[in-house]
Symmetry: C2
Subunit: 153 residues, 2 copies
């Protein structure tokens, strides 16, 4: 696995990234794909949203159980978006604003500046929201009276 | 990157996996997570859907441009779900039917039996379908009169 590009985002430190119940991810930035891979972006501009698969490159350990910012109880790492994963892979849905050659201008970033990108895929369709159950997160939101988390969070 | 588990699916050959416009992914199977990682699945059963990040382990080359089964024109690899990616990573949304210890029984598989799993994440929310534009795929569907692709395809 080698980076296909890097994220240019306004976030220099994880403390700057909105987290927890009702956190809004609307930061703008750029997915800088390697120039030699630009041909792979052909026709990507027709899609409104993209999946970005990336590396938590500044995450230094693994924790199978952890207490996320949105709750006061621990949950399994595969039931959360914790960075302390067996494979430090992140997944974010972004809105594609425009393409300039090998640069994709996007909205909805929640990654640090300089984050390595492993893959970009078109977002084709979602699960109807009425079919989605969100386990512990729904309970935590009810307890706190927080708004539901936004798409991609 | 090491597998956190393996897919048990009915598909032994890529020719058996439904592809192209209107393909339905409703195959049942199991995500067998490594027993030593079972603690990481704590509370996952509360979620109706999961993202599965996996490896196209039988994909042998990279093609920056390719013609997908749903169209007769070539598109960039980052605008398709082609297996011939710079990093051979796949992403599938599955419905979680039930958990049995370190085994997740799921519906909606489109991976070959034995596929290595890199990560499992909870599906929290999608982009409202009315906001999603799907570029070349919409055009191809219109031309063929096919049904829109189902979630996760």
């Amino acid at each position: 696995m080698k980076p296909v590009g890097f994220v240019r985002s306004p976030f220099r430190d994880t403390s700057e990234i909105p987290k927890g119940c009702g956190a809004k991810h609307d930061a703008d930035g750029v997915l800088e794909i390697l120039p030699e891979l630009e041909e792979g972006l052909t026709d990507v501009e027709g899609f409104s949203h993209l999946f970005v698969i990336w590396v938590f490159d500044r995450s230094e350990h693994v924790a199978l159980l952890g207490t996320p910012p949105s709750d006061d109880r621990p949950h399994g790492v595969f039931a959360t978006r914790s960075p302390y994963r067996p494979n430090p892979i992140g997944l974010t849905v972004v809105q594609l604003l425009r393409r300039e050659g090998h640069r994709l201008h996007v909205r909805g970033l929640d990654m640090l500046d300089g984050t390595p990108i492993l893959d970009v895929k078109p977002y084709l369709s979602g699960v109807p929201q009425e079919s989605v159950r969100r386990g512990w997160l729904e309970e935590a939101e009810r307890k706190r009276g927080g708004a539901p988390s936004p798409p991609g969070s």
